[in-house]
Amino acid sequence: MTETTTETEEQSTGTSVGSGDTDTRTTKGESEERTRDEWREYSFSEDAILSVDDLNVYYGDDHSLKDISMDIPEKSVTALIGPSGCGKSTFLRCLNRMNDRIKSARVEGTVEYNGEDVYQDGTNLVELRKRIGMVFQAPNPFPKSIRDNIAYGPRKHGDINRGFVASLLGRDDKEEEDELVEESLRKAALWDEVNDRLDDNALGLSGGQQQRLCIARCLAVNPEVILMDEPASALDPVATSKIEDLIEELAKEYTVVVVTHNMQQAARISDQTAVFLTGGELVEYDETDKIFENPESQRVEDYITGKFG
């Protein structure tokens, strides 16, 4: 993960924290107009696939997320926006327990996925992360062929048997694998560009293609939810448009939760937008057009119109 890139971008788009918080302080009271309980009552048309309740995250003494409660409707795009350090990536990583990998992280509250708390004892993390996949900011394909990148997960999980032993046992799933590779690449809108070179090294692809390959790799293990952490911030505008189109397409079949620093991107692609502000607080969560046309909270208005940051 390239934290440096993130930092630079934030500074250039003027969303870094620290300056001009006079506005924030003076308008703080107004942000309490709707409490977190009210956000939960807000009914989206689709059922909630993820339901977060009173989530608090600490990194050592640092209280990074405070009392976050929100329902994420299925088969839609939910964007998480906010200045750097507001906890949106932390929140994203809580959804499939990626924060477990950080030793100092402590998580309180519940994250229900299809009604089951993912933080309860006995949760199968491999299964959880198959069902709730993650795509990162910088494309990170394995230094292997395009085919191997897609088939890596299913082979690892034993869903597809390949290789010498499998062929000896007469259980070589070559056809299934071909199908899976094609289907995943098609869903990631990459098939037409790479179908004649599936055995080429994935690192030879352009940045945008690599990112779509990572999405295809995520799709290959048959997830229900796809988490994306700034999936287009390392890409040029054309590659960014392709990713954005892809996200909209994926939302017909999958639930997409995307962290972005690009507010216009959130406006373009998402159905719901959650605005996190400094201090790890979820200030407003609503349908995207409402957030960008008439947000309820003055702090959100000030943030998205660039009056502070």
């Binding site: 960008f292 008439n294 119109t305 502070f308």
Partner: protein, 220 residues
């Protein structure tokens, strides 16, 4: 505050819309004066001055388009730019209506329908536009509702004036019928134009209310 240049451009847009409106209202008042005093010269200046209203309107509309394309305003800023864009069209129409009135200014024989106080109606309509502009400039939602309410008064006065003209025309049918008809036609058109001026004032107020409060009650 970040985006200082952007905020300055938003404020410049507000000033430009208000000043375009001031020019349009001035034209309207001049047209009414030309009508009252049968002042050919003033009427001509109003008609020629419409080019200035149009130029300001087009220039300011261009600024709105630039702001949307280059700065991507959202939330309250977006509503402000969109409302300003729509209000400019109303102001341009007020300018056109002033030109219409000036066109007919010197043809009118005011003594024939002396009971119809077109000046009073005109002043009322012009003040509605002024009030709506002030409401826009100050983001005053109460003033917006006030403008909308005064439209009923204007409509009633226009309706009354129209009836009076038609009644007098019927009474005077036997004497100089042609002249009466022509004067009546001019007067009725002027009254209708003034009624429309008021409607544009209401539109401006309605857009302003939407801009400030995201409330479309006056737009419906």
């Amino acid at each position: 505050m970040p985006r200082d240049g952007y905020r300055e451009r938003l404020e410049a847009l507000r000033r430009d819309v208000v000043s375009t409106g001031e020019v349009a209202v001035r034209r309207l008042r001049d047209a009414l004066t030309a009508l009252e005093q049968k002042d050919d010269e003033l009427a001509r200046r109003v008609i020629e001055g419409d080019a200035e209203v149009n130029a300001r309107y087009l220039g300011t509309e261009r600024d709105c388009i630039d702001l949307i394309a280059l700065q991507q305003p959202v939330a309250g800023d977006l509503r402000f730019v969109v409302a300003s864009f729509k209000i400019l069209t109303d102001l341009e129409r007020v300018g056109d209506l002033a030109t219409n009135i000036a066109d007919r200014a010197t043809e009118a024989r005011r003594d024939r329908f002396a009971e119809v106080d077109v000046q009073e109606i005109g002043a009322f309509a012009a003040s509605m536009v002024e009030d709506s502009l002030e409401a826009y400039g100050n983001e005053d939602v109460e003033a917006c509702r006030g403008v909308a309410e005064s439209d009923d008064v204007l409509d009633a006065r226009c309706e009354g004036a129209t009836r009076r003209v038609i009644r007098e025309l019927a009474d005077a049918a036997h004497e100089d019928a042609d002249g009466s008809v022509s004067d009546a036609k001019n007067l009725l058109l002027t009254v209708r134009d003034l009624e429309r001026v008021g409607d544009h004032g209401v539109n401006i107020a309605a857009r302003t209310l939407y801009m400030v409060e995201h409330e479309d009650e006056l737009l419906r």
